[in-house]
């Protein structure tokens, strides 16, 4: 019973959000909890898509997220493979550095990141938005742990056939790592889609606004003055859709809690 009430509390805000996005401004202000709009209207959505920069923000978010995710999956797994399987001098040092890097709180890096992006001349470009996000230390970690769980004998056969390191990695080990690859794909997608602070310090021109930056500017009333909540809530709802779809498709994997080991 307590659970049902709690679940209601958790779900309610989203239902109110959807309902309000179909209301008129006056209706939203007058009836903030009614779940049925007095007059159904898609004005907020029409205005977003036809009469604002919203499609541009969406496009930028898609570009950045796709590039970052592809890059992370590839580079994270390469580094993870080297750290778990290849013997080389300096491996321990690199691993120790990785752990140290993971413990640096990201938010204290805002100014430093801006400084380097500016001095590299990639400020206010897709390059500056994407490049710094291409590696994610925790993703390397996940891949390293996964590769360690694959038996070494798998690669031995290929080694006898004298396949090169990259060949072994690309056509033998990587296909076996599908569960881990899916995991970091989801994490990178979610992470870069929802990223805000990095884009704040890496860009300034309106043409490079992402959804997070754009919707944040909506919240403080750039596009819609005052209390035009339907349009703000509609924007926030749409930016949630891609992560929500991903979430519901891969729910089991995202919420992995070893259900299998529990007696139901």
């Amino acid at each position: 019973m307590a659970l049902i009430i709690l679940a209601m509390i958790y779900i309610m805000p989203f239902i109110i959000q959807i309902a309000t996005s179909f209301k008129t401004d006056a209706d939203a202000a007058a009836h903030p909890i009614s779940l049925v709009p007095q007059i159904w209207t898609t004005a907020a959505y029409r205005r977003l898509f036809l009469n604002s920069d919203f499609p541009l923000w969406f496009k930028n978010s898609v570009i950045v997220t796709v590039c970052v995710t592809a890059g992370r999956v590839f580079f994270d797994s390469m580094a993870g493979y080297a750290l778990s399987r290849l013997k080389f001098r300096g491996r321990e040092t690199i691993f120790a550095m990785l752990v140290a890097v993971m413990s640096v709180p990201m938010v204290v890096l805002l100014i430093p990141k801006f400084l380097i992006i500016k001095s590299l001349g990639i400020y206010d470009s897709y390059f500056g938005m994407i490049l710094p996000l291409l590696i994610d230390a925790s993703g390397v970690f996940i891949m390293k742990n996964f590769f360690e769980s694959i038996p070494k004998s798998v690669e031995e056969q290929a080694k006898i056939d004298r396949a090169g390191t990259f060949r072994i990695f690309w056509s033998i080990v990587l296909p076996m790592a599908r569960p881990a690859l899916i995991t970091i794909t989801i994490l990178s997608f979610q992470g870069s889609w929802n990223e805000l602070s990095h884009f704040i310090v890496a860009t300034q021109s309106p043409s490079l606004m992402t959804l997070t930056k754009g919707v944040a500017s909506l919240a403080s009333g750039q596009l819609s003055a005052g209390t035009q909540y339907p349009i703000k809530l509609a924007a926030a709802a749409i930016m949630t859709v891609p992560v929500a779809i991903l979430f519901f498709i891969f729910q089991k994997r995202i919420m992995n809690t070893n259900e299998g080991s529990v007696k139901e």
Partner: protein
């Protein structure tokens, strides 16, 4: 690109038995090539910038040109002094930000830990139906962006928003949440008839803030943000607790039931002690996370009303980017870094002292291994696919 690397590494196919040394050197080379993207990106966008920012925090750079150019001077600890010891706006802003964030951490960390533990324990009961529905409901806020949630929260907690509408059913006139700078404790005291603090508290203070203001509690606006953050983070931590609960197994629980312990006793004396490592992780992550609150402030309140939602992370950003006080901004972010490290260290020390006694551990281990034998049987009967899908992520932590 792939094909090229491929031929490179299989290039000596014609050598029937490559000497071991050459092989080893080749593995060295490819290992470094594999790590190169990571080393370059983390080095260029993490390590070098930190060194640059450290220099800026000791300099008088104004944001124009290169921070390493000749016109920029080393000014020692001046930037640190202006936020820490020199009375003035910079110091009182910093003090206010620390005060706000300290209250924020003080409320968010215990509440989110308790709530997520409670959710996990409730969801872990064996008889529960529709478990995955509830898990989804509680976890979903965690995957949505903090910007989207903040926009939603601004509506819910607006002066004519949903929360106040609900409160009005009970005859309560809700506050103008995001515009109310009054501290919660001071509101409480005002109800008790204390509207002005004793001069001992109002005359003296720390970091440009009087003790009376330090003790004001989080403002109403900050409280709304606190509720929001608990709403979004409890799902993630709930999953961590569920994973831990499932690895504990039910043997000890059953033993405790046999001994006649009631539900609360079992939770407190049997389950919670075994969850210590997870509680430690959750609290540590909570502390690290709460001292970094930025997105919600940037999207929502920008530090207002009356600076009561200003946090060090946001202050560092606005000092540098809005006020062009780059040295001060960098100095604040390094102080914040130290705060996070120290907080985590303190928390670690506290948890160390309260480790379980050896005897208790031995007792639990014995019970666990006893039940493990039982669980093996049932686990092997379960579909292997469920096990296989989980195996990949078993190693996350």
């Amino acid at each position: 690109m792939f094909a090229k690397t491929d031929t490179e590494s299989t290039g000596n196919d014609f050598v029937p038995y490559a000497p071991k040394k050459i092989k080893h050197a080749k593995e060295q080379l490819s290992a470094w090539l594999f790590c190169a993207p990571m080393l370059i990106i983390l080095g260029v966008f993490l390590v070098i910038p930190i060194i640059m920012a450290l220099w800026v925090s000791f300099s008088d750079w104004t944001g124009r040109g290169n921070p390493f150019s000749a016109g920029v001077h080393f000014i020692g600890v001046g930037n640190y002094e202006s936020v820490l010891t020199t009375p003035g706006l910079a110091q009182s802003d910093f003090g206010t930000a620390i005060r706000n964030n300290a209250w924020y951490t003080l409320l968010v960390v215990p509440l989110q830990t308790l709530l997520s533990l409670l959710l996990a324990v409730m969801l872990n009961r064996r008889i529960l139906k529709a478990r995955s529905f509830f898990r989804t409901a509680f976890y979903f806020p965690s995957v949505t962006s903090s910007v989207a949630i903040t926009v939603l929260w601004l509506f819910l907690f607006g002066s004519t928003g949903s929360i106040n509408a609900v409160l009005s059913w009970f005859g309560v006139k809700g506050p103008n949440w995001f515009n109310d700078p009054r501290g919660l404790l001071q509101i409480l005291l005002a109800h008790l008839g204390v509207s002005r603090g004793p001069s001992a508290l109002t005359q003296h203070g720390l970091l440009g803030i009087s003790w009376w203001d330090w003790l004001a509690g989080p403002s109403v606006a900050m409280f709304a943000i606190i509720l929001m953050v608990i709403f979004t983070t409890s799902g993630t931590f709930m999953l961590m607790f569920i994973a831990a609960l499932q690895s504990i197994g039910e043997g000890t629980e059953e033993a405790a039931i046999m001994d006649g312990a009631n539900a609360w006793q079992r939770l407190w004396h049997v389950t919670v002690p075994q969850l210590k490592p997870t509680i430690f992780t959750v609290v540590t992550l909570g502390i690290i996370g709460t001292w970094q609150v930025f997105d919600q402030i940037y999207t929502g309140t920008k530090g207002g009303p009356s600076k009561t939602t200003l946090t060090p992370a946001y202050l560092s950003y606005s000092a540098a980017f809005d006020n062009q006080e780059w040295g001060q901004g960098a100095a604040i972010s390094f102080i914040l870094f130290v705060i996070i490290v120290v907080m985590t260290w303190i928390q670690r020390q506290i948890m160390k002292d309260r480790k379980m006694s050896r005897r208790k551990i031995a007792y639990y281990e014995a019970l666990k291994s006893e039940t493990r034998g039982l669980r093996h049987v049932s686990a092997s009967q379960l579909s292997s696919s469920a096990n296989a899908s989980g195996r990949g992520e078993d190693h996350h932590e």
